[in-house]
Assembly symmetry: C2
Homo-oligomer: 321 residues x 2
């Protein structure tokens, strides 16, 4: 069982072949950042085409059982998710419709404040709005994972409080380990864990300690420190691995259509562009090297299974129902 | 078994109570005429709400088995359909997504020519366009009924020719019985029947003979003449019954957003406004009076069952798969 709760960039057959070689059971690609309803449906439609064209390699995941099927037959499960809620165009009722079309994960906010709540990059995190509260309730009702990876700490705490089901931080690290706006506080991680949620440790250089990028043992040690905060049942992997992350793609992620100014996203004026992949993760197929590394820092086989995918599967089972 | 393949106007609990009293097994309401993707999804979402709020009375039909369930427990089946394809916003891939959201019927064109083909009201019926050919193939693949009730005769013939599955004219009459642009030629009805399709006889005064509006026996006689053209396995009912058909609603149906001029739709300069319901069909609950009337004009019990719903059920089973 190997589940990566967040990747992004362009997927194609060569990526699926790599994920298959890498032993992935399930991965969540990013279907959108800023797109409205129609463009978000276009993205869903492209994944339908890709599934038909690569039916020997992938399976779109509609329920948790489909992940078990992937474990059994070796296909790579694709759990469809968006990193924003612009796709709703302010309609509570579209959550159910997007779920029907196969959407299983929605991040409440991307890099900007929206109708639901505050982003980690805003000066003031508003917390969850009235609409935001309704959205997390509705997502729980219809079985869509609430993701708060780019959401501000206060909004994340509110989402944990208002969601009737456990929520996710699919791709971030602990800010007590690596201080960065994109990482979540210990208070958030503890509240997340207390309600059955899961954080996916990220392997994205801008938000991950140098040691955890240098060696897989370093990453395993960061995972162990995260487990000390949240507990071994509440930590998984969400690499934030990106395919074909070129200038245009990065520009779209960071600027969408909302600004004419330079935006660095998780980068900075000193690291404005592409950052190198972690040294131990040049390709996604290297993620499986984390298994022996986790054993090497003291996790049992059972604990390692939880971190590598079991915790995500439990969350998905709980949320999808 | 009582199936009405087309009604329109506003549905609410009082309508559902009437349909329930009237013994309806399944009815297709009209979710849209001119609306694009978002508004069409709003309409779907409203039906989800209505189903939850009236779960004791109605069931949204997703597969033909659901109609059998309605027959068993007495709920009114709601088969979701649109009278146009504007909801696709030119995307072949949205057919599959709308089907996932519960759409089971789409009319290729409403009163105007569109990207798919020609309407019955255009001076020249283009026939089915290249996009139109792809749409009927895709609708067959994903299990959506192709409806050609307002579609021109040539475009209808092309749709019959290019569809791998039988198609429907859900609400029209034979133009050889009542000459009107909205009614279909004998050539169309024969081609429809040869490929397993069904025509739903309409009870809308603008397109229905006076005799068939005056008495239920007159309507049964019109059905019998239609059966002489298309055969007893290919004729059903599609009343075109409208609820709360006020001036604003009629204006929207006829003019959408495409014109500043007066439009009469199926009416005329002599009958520009609302027309009276057929004398024998003041309310939808009277439709069941057609059963004895069909027996009275010579149909057997088995034939009457086919006309009152069995033929539609067979078509739905074939199309939904």
């Amino acid at each position: 069982m190997l589940i990566d709760a967040l990747q992004c960039g362009e997927f194609d057959r060569s990526v699926f072949e790599t994920l298959s070689r890498g032993g992935y059971t399930c991965v969540t690609p990013t279907l959108g950042f800023w797109e409205g309803t129609l463009e978000s449906m276009d993205a869903l439609a492209r994944w339908r085409d890709m599934e038909r064209e690569n039916a020997d390699l992938i399976r779109i995941i509609r329920r948790a059982d489909d992940i078990r099927a992937c474990e059994a037959d070796g296909k790579v499960g694709i759990l469809l998710g968006y990193q924003n809620t612009n796709l709703l165009e302010d309609r509570i009722r579209f959550i159910e419709l997007f779920a029907d079309m196969g959407t299983r994960v929605m991040q409440l906010t991307y890099n900007n404040q929206n109708e639901l709540g505050g982003s980690c990059y805003e000066d003031n995190d508003s917390g969850l709005s009235r609409f935001g509260r309704e959205v997390v309730q509705e997502m729980a009702r219809v079985g869509v994972v609430v993701d708060c990876s780019h959401t501000g700490d206060l909004t994340t705490l509110h989402a944990i409080e208002h969601s009737p089901k456990p929520i996710a931080v699919t791709h971030a690290n602990a800010s007590s380990i690596f201080p960065h706006k994109r990482n979540r506080s210990d208070a958030v991680l503890k509240a997340l864990a207390e309600t059955g949620g899961v954080i996916g440790c990220a392997a994205y250089r801008n938000i991950t300690p140098a040691d955890a990028c240098a060696t897989v043992r370093g990453f395993a040690e960061m995972v162990a420190r995260t487990v000390e905060i949240a507990g071994v049942d509440h930590v998984g992997i969400g690499t934030d691995y990106s395919y074909k992350n070129d200038d245009n793609f990065r520009e779209w992620m960071r600027k969408g259509r909302w600004t004419r100014t330079v935006q660095y996203g998780a980068g900075s004026v000193r690291t404005p562009g592409a950052v190198a992949k972690p040294d131990w993760l040049p390709g996604p197929e290297n993620l499986k090297d984390l298994v022996p590394a986790l054993r090497g820092v003291g996790f049992s086989a059972e604990e390692t299974d939880k971190i590598m995918g079991g915790n995500w599967l439990r969350l998905y089972e709980t949320v999808f129902g």
